[in-house]
């Protein structure tokens, strides 16, 4: 059963296996998971992905992930054939399990966040149990991390860092260079930091509404700047950064919000991750809120079997100092590279 012109491949399986205890079920699940992941990402790369297709793939991803968790013994290793993306994919699996909303700039292993894998449902950090988790349980387990806003930001951070890790591991393709490219073109390290974040978040906007994509990441960029450079105040930050870009973005958003058929202001605001606590300014910062969920950098090491350790304790405020230092160290690396 082949498309014309394609080489015949040995079909992975002939029958759909519904018996979960069967070893074939797990391998099939992993195959479906990896295929779905690739499909979703490739779909998002299109200028205008089909909404129906994206929704179906996302739902399949969610279902596969949930079923994996509900299975008696779960081997979380994903084994995609191409070695070049294996480490990146492993990391994507790890971080996907950690954080509900993830973003990757690595084109081969990106699980673009936002609507799809509204991976509130994905909580691999919860201790494994035989009973399938309900959404309610997962929310309770997350505790203070019940807000999508926190996840979005931490997800964005973690994704960028993960992509960098994969680059450093030198087991990656050309795509991970994307976040670094802007650095190379810039003269000033401070500007480089900002632009780097911006570049890395390019994939973040991948969602259902293309027309809002650009504005969405631009606004989240601003928050990104402030959230992970935890020791700086907002004013300090903006002194170094050219805010003309930000002003232009605001104008664009204002124009959008003034009506018309295409994305209304309400739609736009609704689509944006709800990380604003102040109603007066849609993009106001809530530093404390964001700082809480900064993951420890050490959690992004090579995939290990100690996944249960990547659980809620990491997301306590006690890690802030360490995280701040780690981030500074990372920034140095980025600047130098």
């Amino acid at each position: 059963m082949i498309m014309k012109g394609q080489k015949r491949k040995h079909p992975p399986e002939e029958v759909e296996i519904s018996d979960r205890s069967s070893p074939m079920w797990e391998s099939q699940r992993q195959l479906v998971f990896s295929v779905s992941l690739n499909k979703y990402h490739h779909g998002q790369e299109l200028p205008e992905p089909s909404l129906r297709r994206s929704v179906l793939i996302a739902n399949t991803l969610r279902q596969v992930s949930l079923e994996a968790f509900a299975a008696p013994s779960v081997d979380i290793e994903v084994s995609p054939p191409p070695c070049s993306s294996s480490s990146a994919l492993h990391k994507s699996v790890v971080t996907a399990k950690q954080h509900p909303a993830e973003t990757f700039s690595n084109s081969h292993s990106a699980l673009v966040s936002c609507p799809t894998v509204t991976l509130n449902d994905l909580s691999y950090c919860v201790p494994a149990s035989n009973a399938p988790l309900s959404l309610k349980d997962e929310d309770e387990d997350w505790g203070s991390l019940s807000k999508d806003s926190d996840f979005s930001l931490s997800a964005a951070i973690s994704s960028i860092l993960t992509a960098l890790d994969s680059t450093i591991d030198s087991c990656s393709q050309a795509a991970p260079r994307t976040p670094l490219r802007s650095l190379e073109n810039l003269s000033a390290p401070s500007d480089g930091g900002v632009a780097w974040v911006k570049q890395g978040l390019r994939g973040y906007g991948g969602g259902w509404e293309q027309q809002e994509e650009g504005r969405e990441w631009e606004s989240s960029t601003e928050l990104m700047r402030c959230s992970y450079l935890s020791e700086l105040t907002v004013e300090d930050l903006f002194q170094d950064i050219d805010t003309s870009l930000l002003e232009r973005d605001m104008e664009v958003l204002g124009l959008i919000g003034s009506g018309g058929e295409c994305p209304t202001g309400d739609d736009l605001l609704r689509y944006l991750p709800p990380f604003s606590s102040s109603p007066s300014h849609p993009f106001s910062l809530s530093l404390n809120q964001n700082l809480k969920c900064l993951p420890s950098l050490s959690s992004f090491g090579p995939l290990s079997s100690s996944l249960p350790s990547l659980s809620s304790p990491h997301f306590s405020s006690q890690n802030h100092v360490r995280e701040g230092l780690d981030l500074e160290h990372l920034m140095e690396i980025l600047v130098e590279s």
């Binding site: 059963m1 082949i2 498309m3 014309k4 079909p11 992975p12 399986e13 002939e14 029958v15 759909e16 519904s18 099939q28 699940r29 195959l31 479906v32 295929v35 200028p47 205008e48 089909s50 909404l51 129906r52 297709r53 929704v55 179906l56 996302a58 739902n59 399949t60 279902q63 596969v64 079923e67 909303a101 936002c114 609507p115 799809t116 509204t118 999508d148 969602g207 259902w208 509404e209 293309q210 027309q211 058929e261 295409c262 994305p263 609704r270 689509y271 709800p274």
Partner: protein
């Protein structure tokens, strides 16, 4: 329409009359008009080709009214959305005819974003004998005019003109997947992934949104609308299908916004057939009311289901289109075939239903006799005026002669679009860029 029992059996009784090879582009929709006299096709290049049935002549009774090209026009052009920096495809997604009210024909055609109302009219006379200009059109010198004459209509070669009478645009943020004309002949609905809009045929600058399933937070989106259709007799009733395998029947008299359905049709999932792809294959690709308005037919990836409007918890009948693909779903998911959207169609008397499959196969199911047949639309297997031979797909190891094994099916040849003449047993089948018209042989 009164129900007549169709006593003719569906086997070995179809002739192939013509193969209209458009060659240029992939056909994306086919539709007979309400009388069956005209057949419209839309293609990926934004063109509409209308075929007209020849009048049957007594001198040549065996030529039972062939379909010839009547009009060709460019309905939609590729556009560019400057706000989103996206190209808007000119592919015609759907064509729906309006009922004929005068000598001209009207149809609605739509691409992803814009619906257009086209008027197709004939001109077979032209005025001749103007005073101020020659028949060539040159202005006459007034000083040479010595007498006045009355222009006279003279016959000319038939000319068929298509003019765009209305353009309904800027109402859809997402891709339009279907349009449906109301039985009141004044309104119609256009449906995209998340919304259904109600239009008046005369008014182009505004439409009413009657269904909106867009969530406040797009991250929570898990279901989209796949198709919608008005009830054939009740002008206040319409149905829409979803990607999760459900159909909602709505009554526009209840509220302005029909988010709340009055009937909800969904079959509970069979746990024994559950797989990773259960949701994808349950996604409904087409929904059609029967002509008598009592039934609904839905097409999902592997089956066609007939629902009684009075029974919401399960379908009345389920027909397996190509169940041999159930074990291949993973491969079909990988090569994207699992996302193919097949259409389904009723015959005029609602006794037979038809839908397409792969390898240029299409299937017919007789609801009364419960018999079904698989036929193939291809040039190699059909000679002109030959009777179509039923095909069979071999599922077990032993393949008989003339059977085709599942692994030999060509998944690039898919029949997604079919239509059935409203009164007679004439069907039109679109196989990629070829149009096949089949007629029932009368003994």
């Amino acid at each position: 329409m009164e129900e007549e029992s169709d006593t003719r059996k569906i086997n070995n009784s179809f002739l192939r009359e013509h193969n209209y090879a458009t060659e240029a582009d992939i056909i994306s929709t086919v539709e007979f008009n309400s009388s069956g006299e005209l057949l419209a096709t839309g293609d990926k290049g934004g063109r509409v080709v209308v075929f007209q049935r020849e009048q049957e002549s007594k001198s040549q009774p065996q030529r039972r009214g062939e379909y010839n090209v009547y009009s060709t026009f460019q309905s939609h052009e590729p556009e560019f959305d400057y706000l989103k920096s996206l190209e808007i495809e000119e592919k015609i997604n759907k064509i729906k005819w309006l009922p004929q009210q005068n000598a001209a024909y009207f149809l609605l055609s739509t691409n992803d974003k814009t619906v257009k109302l086209w008027k197709i009219s004939e001109r077979d006379k032209r005025p001749e004998g103007y005073n101020l200009k020659d028949d060539d059109g040159r202005i006459r010198d007034p000083s040479t005019i010595t007498s006045l004459r009355v222009p006279v209509l003279q016959p000319m070669d038939l000319m068929v003109e298509a003019t765009a009478r209305r353009v309904f645009s800027n109402a859809h943020m997402y891709h339009i997947n279907s349009i449906s004309v109301n039985s009141d002949y004044q309104t119609y609905i256009s449906t995209d992934d998340l919304r259904v809009n109600l239009w008046n045929l005369e008014i182009t600058d505004r439409s009413f949104n009657i269904v909106d399933i867009k969530p406040a937070n797009m991250e929570e989106l898990t279901e989209v609308i796949t198709s919608a259709e008005f009830h054939p007799q009740q002008c206040h009733t319409f149905a829409y299908s979803s990607s999760k395998g459900s159909i909602r029947l709505c009554d526009m008299r209840e509220a302005a916004l029909c988010d709340k359905h009055c009937k909800y049709f969904e079959e509970p999932e069979d746990p024994s057939t559950r797989s990773f792809f259960s949701e994808i294959i349950s996604s409904i690709s087409d929904v059609k009311f029967s002509h008598n308005g009592r039934y609904l037919m839905t097409r999902d990836y592997l089956t066609v289901k007939v629902w009684d409007l009075q029974m919401e918890n399960k379908p009345l009948e389920t027909y397996q289109v190509h169940d041999y693909l159930r074990g291949k779903l993973c491969s079909l998911y990988e090569n994207d075939c699992i996302f193919d959207k097949f259409e389904c169609v009723w015959n005029g008397s609602d006794s037979v239903i038809m839908t397409g499959s792969y390898n240029n196969f299409f299937r017919m199911f007789d609801r009364n006799t419960k018999r079904d047949v698989t036929l193939e639309a291809s040039r190699e297997n059909s000679k002109p005026r030959a009777i179509l031979k039923p095909r069979k797909v071999c599922v077990s190891g032993k393949r008989r002669k003339d059977e085709i094994s599942v692994d030999s099916l060509d998944f690039s040849k898919k029949i997604l679009h079919t239509t059935w003449h409203p009164h007679e047993n004439i069907i039109a089948v679109a196989a990629t860029n070829n149009l096949y018209i089949f007629q029932d042989k009368v003994n």
